[in-house]
């Protein structure tokens, strides 16, 4: 180890560092380019877009396209913008994320602190749920939703996402609680706290990092989901992703790239917001337990 270090001079180490930073900057620019094009295009007028230079800054920035995308753009036959679908998505994503996170936490708690015979098999089967491809469950799920009278509704989508998310949320919480000392649960039992009291008062308040990880993960997945949305909730109940697709692929009249771009940015905003607000907890939560702190 030390012998290897001695062969690297200070000068060549610095060169290597410059090279690494240069590579990182280039890659960052490549990754950010689509966002830049989206932003600039959404602020340009249609004439300017047709003028050609995709990378040029807008000459006369205007938020007209944003206003139109939000409130006036035609999706299918109704021309009321994407705002209704945006709310649809929120109405779907918030309950779905909260319920699946809570149930995952409860599952993790039971699978680590209230072990029962066969708990490993149950956990294995829940993990298996993570690997079932979406396409495989479409038809059975559609039938089930129909039987329950939940087809074409936001409530149905919430249920689908909760069920599909449970495998992941359980995995996250089980691994987090695995490292949680059993003695704390025993102490609380002797102190007279019951099953749910221990969960609410002792475990959940110490689960901050893993809650953030799970919420970000679930929020991103559910918000960005297209397949379930397009399969189980058509028309007025469509989530944002489906509406965006319908907007962009509408073939009537001129293609309004600036409106499409503005709508796409609206669709991306909530996930961006979640990452910016909670991103640092995300990394911290992923690292929690890896290094004893």
């Amino acid at each position: 180890m030390s012998a290897a270090n001695e062969t690297v001079s200070a000068g060549s180490a610095r060169t290597a560092r410059y090279f690494i930073y240069a590579a990182l900057i280039v890659l960052a620019v490549v990754y950010l380019l689509p966002l830049y094009v989206m932003l600039t295009t959404s602020l340009k007028s249609l004439d300017e877009i047709r003028g050609g230079d995709m990378l040029a800054l807008p000459k006369d920035p205007s938020i007209a396209a944003w206003v139109k995308a939000w409130g006036e753009a035609c999706i299918g036959v109704s021309c009321v913008g994407i705002k209704g679908y945006f709310w649809n998505s929120l109405k779907m994503v918030i309950p779905a994320v909260l319920i699946s996170t809570l149930l995952g936490a409860l599952n993790g708690y039971v699978l680590t602190k209230w072990r029962f015979p066969g708990h490993k098999i149950v956990f294995g089967m829940m993990l298996f749920a993570c690997f079932i491809p979406f396409q495989a469950v479409l038809i059975p799920m559609a039938r089930l939703l129909g039987l329950m009278g939940l087809s074409n509704s936001t409530a149905g989508l919430v249920m689908v996402h909760v069920i599909y998310g449970l495998g992941f949320t359980t995995l996250f919480f089980r691994n987090y609680y695995e490292a949680f000392p059993d003695e704390l649960v025993k102490a609380a039992m002797i102190d007279g706290a019951g099953f749910f009291r221990i969960f609410w008062r002792i475990l959940l308040p110490t689960s901050g990092p893993i809650i953030v990880v799970t919420i970000i993960y679930q929020f991103t997945n559910i918000w960005n989901d297209f397949l379930f949305g397009v399969s189980f909730a058509g028309g007025e109940a469509s989530p944002m992703t489906v509406a965006l697709n319908n907007l962009v692929s509408s073939s009537t009249g001129v293609k309004e790239y600036n409106v499409d771009m503005a709508a796409a940015i609206f669709a991306a905003l909530p996930t961006l917001f979640v990452y910016v607000v909670a991103g640092r907890y995300f990394v911290r939560g992923l690292m929690a337990g890896a290094v004893k702190g």
Binding site: K186, A187, M189, I190
Partner: protein
């Protein structure tokens, strides 16, 4: 009648018997220490008393009430864990008050109780802090406070000192002893440290492989160990075990006729000639002539070669060797002794006990 009774307690895990029929009784206000090497079942036994681990068979009785099938919170016990098990999301005050809160005690009343306990343990200045901001000794004290505030019928301690450094361990040990003397609480305490057992207990239970080896006061356990295991486990440095043979009403030691001692007074039966025995003596029963107990009735002086000298400050441990057998003697620290020298050791046979090497039991 005893306050805490454990009757024929067994615990099986698949085919592995962890506890094999444990019988223990403890009077009210007693301090029972369960001691034994790791894996002897002492923690399992404590968890069974706490109700955290159901026994396979047998009964646990507290104050006349059978609690074997009661939930831990209904047994009116408190437990101090090795890792302290303080709730990390609560302040010290909330930690101590948690059990009271679970019992539905009014907030004002809770505050009074917490203040009282905090005062006894001198942790009043820590009440608003969180466990992560406390030192090991402070956490230990908070854990005791959490147990004390409930005024339970029985306190359970699971190796509470093993996470502390040596100096603090002695301090907290003294605090636990003082606490017991002041509150007259009934305590069951698990440790693998025989010095903790000796200093704290009113009653010691030595366990090995799920079986009780001996129950007794610290003095009984120390001076009259029931078998070779107890003799070897309790005391540091360990008890000297000298092989001998019964001959003409005495015991020949060190494999020859040359060194012969009288049968110690702890043996009341007559031993047949030619029987192999083990004569056991604590290091403090083998001394230099100047330290020998003038009250002792039977003292044998035996010359042996000195092979090691270990000064501890207060005394010096001298290892003697005779015909291949070694023993440790505890001498005055200012005794003149050098390596390789022939030194006259005084064996106080009043303190000696004799074991049967076949059964490993003590011969009385």
């Amino acid at each position: 009648m005893s306050f805490l009774e454990i009757k024929y307690l067994c615990k099986k895990k698949t085919t592995n018997e962890i506890l094999k029929g444990i019988n223990i009784e403890l009077e009210k206000g007693g301090f029972l220490v369960l001691v034994g090497p790791s894996g002897c079942g002492k923690s399992t036994l404590l968890n069974a008393i706490a109700g955290l681990l159901p026994p396979s068979s047998g009964d646990i009785v507290i104050d006349g009430q059978v609690v074997t099938d009661l939930h831990p919170s209904k047994r009116d016990i408190a437990m101090v864990f090795q890792s302290y098990a303080l709730y990390p999301n609560m302040t010290v005050e909330e930690n101590i008050a948690f059990a009271l809160e679970m019992r539905g005690v009014e907030k004002a009343q809770r505050e009074v109780e917490v203040k009282k306990v905090a005062k006894t343990l001198q942790i009043e200045h820590l009440l608003k802090r969180r466990p992560s901001q406390l030192s090991g000794g402070q956490r230990q004290r908070v854990a005791m406070g959490r147990a004390l505030v409930r005024q339970p019928r029985v306190f359970l301690f699971d190796e509470p000192l093993s996470n502390l450094d040596a100096k603090l361990r002695v301090e907290v040990r003294a605090e636990i002893k003082a606490l017991h003397q002041n509150t007259h609480a009934t305590i069951v305490y698990v440790t693998h440290d025989q010095i903790e057992a000796m200093t704290l207990a009113t009653k010691i239970v030595v366990l090995k492989e799920g079986q009780v080896q001996q129950v007794g006061t610290p003095a009984e356990i120390y001076n009259r160990p029931a078998n070779l295991f107890v003799a070897d486990f309790m005391g540091s440095p360990a008890m000297n075990m000298l092989k001998g043979k019964v001959a003409n009403g005495g015991i020949s030691l060190f494999g020859g006729e040359a060194v012969k001692v009288a049968v110690p007074p702890s043996v009341t039966t007559s031993l047949p000639d030619g029987k192999d025995v083990i004569l056991a003596l604590r290091p403090e029963a083998i001394t230099d002539a100047g330290l020998a107990d003038p009250q002792a009735r039977a003292i044998a002086t035996i010359e042996a070669e000195v092979t090691m000298i270990e000064p501890t400050g207060s005394d010096t441990f001298v290892t003697g060797k005779l015909d291949g057998a070694s023993f440790t003697a505890r001498t005055r620290s200012d005794v003149q002794v050098s390596l390789g020298q022939k030194f006259p050791f005084s064996f106080n046979l009043d303190k000696a006990v004799v074991f049967d090497p076949q059964t490993t039991q003590r011969i009385v």
